[in-house]
């Protein structure tokens, strides 16, 4: 995967958490996700289409998901809260939307968010590169941003 996309997501994660929650994120070294690795308990998923195709997953353990959703919404949230999935989905939407502005030379569209809750669930996709996992650490807990993208064109020249 092009390092431009990884950098775009790292920048976006920092920006979204700082702006919406006043939370600093320490981003670890991205690593390739092993196929047998099970995801966390809550996944916020956004699909990308156009000249960049694939998906982005914000992947949390439940206590971290609750803490992040609460900080994001400015109200206490638990998995039974009416807006819990809405908050996680909107957070994924912001991270993906904010990242794609830095896909220099590539036009992409994002899907509406989906949220999956359940211990041991996996998110898989065909025809796309393996997921690259960006580990993130905050005062609210640790989570991962998983990115699997391919490009569907040669990028336009810079400044074009």
């Amino acid at each position: 995967m092009d390092v431009t996309f990884v950098n775009a997501f790292v920048g976006s994660i920092l920006n979204v958490f700082k702006t919406m929650m006043s939370v600093e994120v320490k981003v670890g070294k991205p690593l390739l996700k092993q196929a047998e690795l099970v995801t966390a308990e809550v996944s916020g998923i956004i699909g990308l289409s156009g000249e960049v195709q694939g998906s982005v997953i914000l992947s949390f353990d439940m206590p971290v998901a609750c803490a992040v959703a609460s900080a994001f919404a400015g109200a206490d949230m638990n998995p039974d809260s009416a807006d819990f999935t809405d908050a996680i989905g909107e957070l994924a939407n912001m991270v993906a939307g904010n990242a794609k502005k830095d896909f220099h030379g590539y036009e992409a569209s994002i899907s509406l968010p989906s949220v999956i809750i359940g211990k041991g669930h996996r998110v898989s996709q065909s025809k796309v590169s393996p997921f690259l996992v960006i580990p993130c650490e905050t005062k609210l807990g640790k989570f991962n941003v998983e990115v699997a993208l391919i490009t569907a064109k040669v990028p336009a020249a810079a400044g074009a």
């Binding site: 702006t19 919406m20 919404a73 009416a82 909107e90 912001m94 904010n98 794609k100 994002i110």
Partner: protein
């Protein structure tokens, strides 16, 4: 002053409502997509509309184009994750008066609302 908030995320609508409250703007109607917004507009014309771009059923850009077919002056602010220059230009061409990129701070949203109301000749809200 009547505000119409159009966003498929209730979390975002709540965040926006909290900002509006700091400006003493509490007469707020909510819509979860463009179609719901058109129904609201058929009942009552707001003084300001905040619109998301990506929504189910009818997206924000389609909504704005439809509104501008009959109403050229309603102040509209687009509040969206779509941050590319080409998208901003598309929104301006469709008729938005201002543009806020998500993520946003309460201060940024508040400033854009006041700026838009002043620009559109309406009484700017007070803090």
């Amino acid at each position: 002053m009547k505000i119409l908030l159009v966003d498929d995320s209730r979390t975002i609508r709540n965040i926006q409502k909290n900002t509006l409250k700091t400006l003493n703007l509490t007469d707020v109607t909510e819509a979860a997509d463009g179609l719901e917004a058109l129904s609201c507009l058929a009942n009552q014309r707001p003084d300001l509309m905040l619109v998301d771009w990506n929504m189910p059923n009818m997206d924000g850009i389609t909504l704005i184009k439809k509104v501008r077919e009959t109403d050229k002056t309603l102040p509209i602010i687009m509040v969206t994750t779509e941050a590319e220059k080409s998208r901003v230009l598309e929104a301006v061409k469709a008729g938005v008066n201002n543009y806020v990129v998500k993520p946003f701070t309460a201060e940024t949203l508040s400033e854009k609302i006041q700026q838009t109301m002043a620009k559109c000749g309406a009484a700017a809200p007070t803090t």
